[in-house]
């Protein structure tokens, strides 16, 4: 059994149920924690921020949630080395909170997942995330093989990594670029990037390696019933599906 995992629910979060379910199917002890229960977050060992539209993305995607009381606990826990994993809107919140790439002070973002380019339109596309760092770079990816491909769905309007050139250089130099978009055969080129993301970025990790933010949704390709190559046994985890990163996260919490 793993340590206790809190899946945070802000007003407007919408992917929490499948996130909890996949964590549990991967052996995690995961529970939902709503914004009105922030005081309980100190009892947890790890945190997952799932997808949705926290606070309706008012001001900017993730901006209001980044200053929510729940994030006070998450920021403190991250500083103590507890694992924090953000997916899609959860990733946007982690960038707005300055936890990833973490190259500046907390709550002072140095990058953003912002409007897609060249067209600022919603993208819904099956993608592959390729692990671009040594697995041991992050506790959350430590159980993945080098160069792992994680299938997932990109489903966002604001998923393009943007930062000043100075901060993009810091992201590269500091080995913060955890995942890049890739083709199913592992090739990495511009055609694999669904949203114009700088550096082909699909995910970022902080300096200490305990906070990971990814834009696409692996939980939407976790079981046979939602895996592209559907098999018998709908409720079983798809062997080549997105559960691999959840398993690795759960191991980090164990």
């Amino acid at each position: 059994m793993s340590g206790r995992i809190a899946v945070l629910v802000f007003p407007g979060t919408n992917s929490e149920d499948e996130t909890v379910r996949l964590l549990r199917d991967c052996g995690g002890d995961a529970e939902l924690v709503h914004w009105s229960e922030a005081q309980h977050l100190a009892e947890y060992d790890a945190f997952v921020l799932s997808g949705g539209f926290a606070y309706e993305d008012r001001v900017r995607a993730g901006a209001i949630a980044a200053h929510d009381r729940m994030m006070d606990h998450v920021v403190a826990a991250a500083a103590k080395g507890k694992p924090v994993f953000g997916i899609c809107n959860g990733a946007q919140i982690l960038l707005e909170a300055g936890l990833v790439p973490g190259t500046g002070p907390t709550r002072k973002p140095t990058a953003a997942f912002t409007k897609n380019a060249p067209e600022p339109h919603f993208v819904c596309r099956h993608v592959h995330l390729k692990l671009a760092v040594e697995p041991s770079r992050s506790a959350i990816t430590a159980a993945l093989p080098p160069g792992t491909l994680v299938p997932a769905w990109a489903a966002h309007v604001e998923g393009r990594l943007a930062a000043t050139q100075e901060h993009l250089d810091e992201i590269v130099a500091g080995d913060h670029l955890a995942f890049v978009y890739a083709h199913p055969d592992g090739r990495v080129d511009a055609a694999a990037i669904p949203n114009g993301s700088a550096l082909g970025c699909a995910g970022l990790v902080n300096r200490a390696g305990n906070v990971l933010a990814i834009m696409p949704h692996p939980e939407r390709d976790g079981w046979n019933f939602n895996h592209l190559e559907r098999r018998e046994g709908n409720d079983a985890l798809a062997p080549s599906g997105g559960a691999s990163i959840f398993r690795s996260f759960v191991q980090a919490v164990a």
Binding site: K115, N116, A117, A162
Partner: protein, 144 residues
């Protein structure tokens, strides 16, 4: 010439209210906030035509919930903070009225309903309203 068109809600602005609550939680001394989307178009020498075209097209204006004001300056006034994206993926025109620029305009008031000063605007931008990775804050010149 370039003409600013401010479109704001005449129904309650939940985004402005949420920003107000968040800023107060962040210890920014603000009592009331107004927000508008500000577009700068070529007016084609006929600002009334520009206004009519925007009002009759529902891409950025819905008569049931928006009000439209023509600005007489391309700079923010007292108590105003404009947030401008560093890149502009959105491009659209109304006939010959080309869109040049788009900003989000915030107007902040203190407890006495006066526009807040430069220092409060700067703090509001830094703590919430501007992400410097993708935006730049624009305020009234201190001397102005």
């Amino acid at each position: 010439m370039r003409r600013g068109v401010a479109i704001s809600l005449k129904i309650p602005d939940n985004t402005a209210y949420t920003a107000l609550v968040a800023l107060r939680r962040l210890d920014v001394a603000v009592e009331h906030i107004e927000r508008s989307d500000i577009y700068f178009f070529d007016d084609g020498g006929d600002v009334e035509m520009l206004k009519q075209r925007i009002e009759s097209d529902e891409r950025i204006f819905n008569p049931n919930k928006h009000r439209l004001a023509i600005l007489d300056s391309e700079k923010p006034g007292p108590g105003e903070l404009w947030i401008e994206p560093l890149c502009h993926p959105e491009r659209f025109d109304y006939a010959q009225h080309r869109l040049h620029r788009r900003v989000t305009g915030w107007r902040l008031y203190d407890a006495k309903n006066r526009p807040v000063g430069h220092s409060v605007l700067a703090v509001a931008a830094e703590r919430l309203l501007c992400n410097p990775a993708i935006d730049r804050p624009i305020m009234e010149d201190r001397a102005g």
